[in-house]
Symmetry: C2
Subunit: 144 residues, 2 copies
DNA sequence: TATTGTTATACTCTATAACTATA
DNA sequence: TATAGTTATAGAGTATAACAATA
């Protein structure tokens, strides 16, 4: 049997630290974690309903409302009733929102690069490749 | 710039799935996550105070009390006042506790091996080596 | 007075249920 | 009546503060 600690027990503190690092950077940019997640989702493409956005980022629809309020207030997203179905809210990132998100992301990635520098070039590549492969596995396949 | 998603955003869902998998296994063994963490800490060596145990597993001292109650009730740990300082509680795993912990750990690792089988042998090795190296970094060094 | 463990309280985050408006 | 969004409420998990026992 391979002698190692449980994978989850090993990775969880690492992820916790990475999230703490991300929160520090985001705080410098005046953005909350949920705001960053929303901006990142909308930077890929606009979304037609708040429920769809919540679904896309794995959040409850009731939980993102105050975040959307603040983002709209700050002019980082637009949020208008769909003329064709005025129950729905068309969501899109603004130019300011895009700038804010990308500036924050650049700082986050710079810090992650600094951390990854602890690895050899070969291990770094393999680690990222493996992490990508594992995180692409369906939740059910991992849970079994 | 390397084209990849944020590291934390990539790893967090993976860890979440791994924890869900672990919880499923632990449930089959009738052990909670906190109980498993406590048993794992005590399987390495006994601990002289509850505060030290809490510190060791990164928990609040008030938060492990009900867990210790249940473990003691189930006969998986021993917990006696230190004769030399009766404020302190000497904590140790019992033979039953050790059996329970190791049985659970074997199943957890078996599932993790199944997940890791998605990787090539080389990537699997490099991933584990890198994960170990990164998780050994001090929290402050990652946060920056 | 200081320390260990415990209990009581408050706070944060999240999920559930009820409500408004549009369809 | 059904759906999108919102607000109000309740629940779980955690941290903080007060307390009891021992030193």
């Amino acid at each position: 049997m391979t002698e190692r600690r449980d994978l989850a027990a090993m990775l969880q503190p690492l992820v916790k630290s990475l999230i703490a690092a991300e929160l520090r950077v985001l705080e410098e940019h005046g953005i909350s974690m949920w705001s960053y997640v929303v901006l990142s989702a909308l930077d890929d493409s606009p979304i037609r309903t708040q429920a769809a956005l919540a679904e896309a980022i794995g959040a409850d629809k009731t939980r993102i409302i105050s975040t959307l309020d603040r983002l709209q207030e700050a002019g980082l997203i637009s949020r208008e009733p769909d003329p064709e179905d005025r129950r729905a809210r068309l969501l899109a990132i603004t130019q300011d929102g895009r700038s804010a998100r990308r500036a924050a992301q650049a700082d986050i990635r710079a810090n992650e690069e600094r951390v990854l520098a602890a690895l050899s070039a070969a291990d770094r590549q393999a680690f990222l490749r493996a992490a990508q492969a594992l995180s692409a596995m369906p939740h059910e396949e991992i849970v079994g």
